[in-house]
């Protein structure tokens, strides 16, 4: 059998000396599935009927070859054990404190070790239902799952990320198509009945040649990002700045995106870069925001 180089992953070691590790065909298939399908796969031993994850090509107990017996697992599971890592060392993937948990994925028999975020340290417990959150950027490693988060709907309010949970590079966005009625409603809300927004004949004479939406209308789409996604519920916005780059026409689909760019350690505030783009990937506006992320939830009686 010949093996193509591209079928096999190489992992770079982090040591002073470089090492490269080969995941093997079985491990590579698992990693490719994570990367391309965002699917976690298990391997079933037909002798003991156990479904294993992480992948391995033999059942070490039965000594049976299992490398072909792929099974789709759910991207969610239950925490069967955990620890909160508070000591800081260079080999750690994120800055402590962080939660490392044993997570038994739905459909698997053996738990997988991974990071859990989005739950206050004091509220972490065995039995919690969590789901995989995939990394924005693939590293072709187990870190393609960035972390696990509690499955929504369990707590009364799904609070946003706290200062400690936020990391530079995390981002979130919200998209919406701007319709004619949105513009009319916004005119009513703001009192801005400028005919360039409402009167097509007038608008034909402007440089835009047709009606455009109020500048503040697409800009307001960043509010659901900051307030409900990143950092999320409990966020206080201190400052939002924006510079308009291109008009928004009726029917345009605007995506507002916020990305954490700086953590202000002293105040425990977070600075975010904002962008608004349309369906043609044109930059509609850009700016920045300064926010106070949600505080960790107070201890509550169960």
């Amino acid at each position: 059998m010949s093996t193509a180089r591209e079928d096999c992953f190489t992992m770079e070691g982090k040591l002073a000396l470089p090492y490269q590790y080969f995941a093997g065909l079985t491990g590579s298939r698992f990693l490719i599935s994570l990367r391309d399908q965002k699917k976690i796969k298990g391997l079933k031993c037909n002798k003991c009927n156990k479904i294993f994850v992480p992948p391995r090509s033999t059942c070490e107990i039965c000594f049976e070859e299992i490398s072909g017996n792929w099974v789709d697992l759910k991207n969610s599971g239950t925490v069967t054990g955990f620890t909160i890592i508070r000591y800081e060392e260079p080999h750690q993937p994120v800055k402590p404190p962080y939660i490392l948990a044993l997570i038994k994925l739905d459909g698997a028999d053996t738990p997988l070790t991974h990071i859990v975020k989005g739950v206050p340290l004091s509220k972490m417990k065995v039995g919690m239902k969590v789901k995989a959150m995939f990394a924005k950027k693939s590293t072709s490693s187990i870190m393609d799952i960035d972390h696990f988060r509690p499955v929504e709907g369990k707590p009364k309010f799904e609070m946003g990320y706290t200062y400690d949970e936020l990391e530079v590079g995390m981002s979130a966005s919200f998209s919406k198509t701007i319709s004619e009625s949105d513009v009319y409603l916004f005119a009513g809300i703001s009192g801005d009945f400028n005919p360039m927004h409402l009167n097509e004949e007038f608008a034909k004479m402007t440089p835009f040649g047709t009606r455009i939406a109020h500048g503040a209308l697409p800009q307001s789409l960043i509010a659901p990002v900051l307030g409900m996604k990143l950092p999320g519920l409990g966020t206080v916005a201190l400052e939002i700045m924006a510079r308009f780059k291109a008009p928004t026409y009726f029917g345009d689909t605007i995506t507002a995106t916020g990305e954490v760019v700086e953590k202000l350690e002293k105040k425990r505030w977070v600075r975010m870069a904002l962008t608004w783009t349309n369906q043609k990937d044109e930059l509609v506006a850009e700016g920045s925001a300064l926010v106070i992320p949600p505080m960790p939830l107070p201890q509550q009686a169960e």
Partner: protein, 397 residues
């Protein structure tokens, strides 16, 4: 000579080797080991449940995995069993066989699986552990001027012309053997008419050590199963018996020992002691095959004298008269030896495995074409470390 009768006899009952190659991207470390383990179990007709104890070894920093037997449990079958880990540099594979022999002979375990492996491709490539850079690796091992010392020594004693020819004859014989062995990592198909050309055209490394003389750099694993006499007869009708083994190390850290005792190589010292306590008077007469850990052709030539306790130019004659060829008087490395494949943690075990296959008579295309009853296998590591084995077909010594 201090050697007593073993507490009980130990037989080699299963042998598994992966293909040796410069690259194995298709498997990770435990998977590669598993291939060899599966091979040994199939060879013995055993299942993993029949194994009492697993012995594992390699060099941690070659792949930078701390105590890799822990992770490798996925492939070794050690789960739920007694498990040991030993590592002694290049001699590791030999030490693992010696350990397995001791563990079975002790009566503590009836059936022991020993596994040596290396996945050098995963190692420190920029540091030079690649195919091309074998001499760098050797330099690391050999600390400075020792590297081409064998060449210097042989040349000083026998003159450039004769020494260079002998080294190249040795090299071509090894390649001819490697071409017979389907498991070889490197087999070029060299022939006698290329001798003159190779002696001048192969890239020089250090002094008279040329690239063509050096061993390869390989990925691979070897697994062997050892059983007590009683178990061995249940498992196979042709166990190969480990008659004796000896380990001799030498490495000066205190700088006290320069030339004071004994003034000979560990190979010669080990051979003398081993023959003495086993009453072997004429090793060339006695042994039917010798699998030698020969990191380069120069060492191979030079060490023949040490291992067979030869004098003068007897060892050169063995080479020049091609007596070490597979059909010669004293076949050496019918497998092709270390120059043909060198997965370091497994290499020394492969010597024992290949010697045992010759005794069994089922080595394959490189089987010696006459009966093999007595075999010797050597390991080499460190600056000058030796493990030496005697294998027997019959329990009659």
């Amino acid at each position: 000579m201090g050697s007593k009768k073993k507490n009980r006899n130990v037989g080699i009952v299963g042998i598994g080797e992966t293909k040796f190659s410069s690259h194995r991207e298709d498997v990770n470390q435990p998977e590669m080991i598993h291939e060899a383990v599966k091979g040994a179990l199939d060879d013995a007709g055993l299942s993993i449940d029949d194994i009492d104890c697993v012995v594992h070894g390699n060099m941690e920093l070659f792949e930078m995995v701390h105590q890799p037997d822990l992770w490798h449990t996925l492939g070794t079958g050690a789960y739920g069993k007694d498990a040991y880990r030993l590592t002694t540099g290049g001699t590791t594979g030999g030490t693992l066989v010696a350990a397995a022999d001791n563990l079975v002979a002790s009566g503590m375990y009836d059936t022991v699986l020993a596994i040596g492996f290396e996945k050098l491709q995963e190692g420190h490539t920029t540091g030079g552990i690649t195919n091309m850079a074998d001499p760098l690796w050797a330099r690391k091992l050999q600390s400075g001027a020792l590297t081409d010392s064998a060449a210097v020594k042989v040349i000083a004693e026998f003159g450039e012309e004769r020494a260079r020819r002998a080294a190249m004859i040795y090299r071509i014989i090894m390649d001819k053997h490697a071409c017979l062995n389907p498991n070889s990592h490197r087999a070029f198909g060299l022939d006698w008419d290329q001798m003159e050309d190779l002696m001048t055209s192969s890239p020089p490394l250090i002094g008279d050590l040329r690239l063509i003389h050096m061993c390869s750099q390989s990925d691979g694993a070897c697994a062997m199963i050892f059983a007590s006499e009683e178990r061995a007869w249940e498992i196979t009708d042709r166990p190969v018996w480990i008659r004796d083994h000896i380990t001799i190390h030498r490495e000066e850290t205190l700088n006290l020992c320069v030339n004071y005792y004994p003034n000979e190589t560990t190979h010669r010292f080990a051979a003398e002691k081993l023959y003495e306590r086993n009453n072997i008077k004429d090793p060339i007469e006695y042994f039917d095959v010798f699998e030698m850990y020969d990191p380069s052709a120069w060492w191979g030539v030079d060490w023949l004298r040490d291992f067979f306790l030869l004098e003068g130019d007897e060892h050169l004659k063995l080479v020049e008269e091609k007596e070490i060829m597979i059909n010669g008087r004293m076949p050496v490395n019918p497998s092709g030896g270390v120059i043909a494949a060198n997965p370091i943690g497994a290499t020394a075990m492969v010597r024992v495995a290949e010697a045992a296959k010759q005794v069994r008579g089922n080595a394959g295309p490189h089987q010696i074409p006459r009966p093999v009853n007595h075999a010797m296998a050597s390991s080499f590591g460190g600056t000058m470390w030796t493990v030496l084995f005697m294998l027997e077909k019959e329990l009659n010594w």
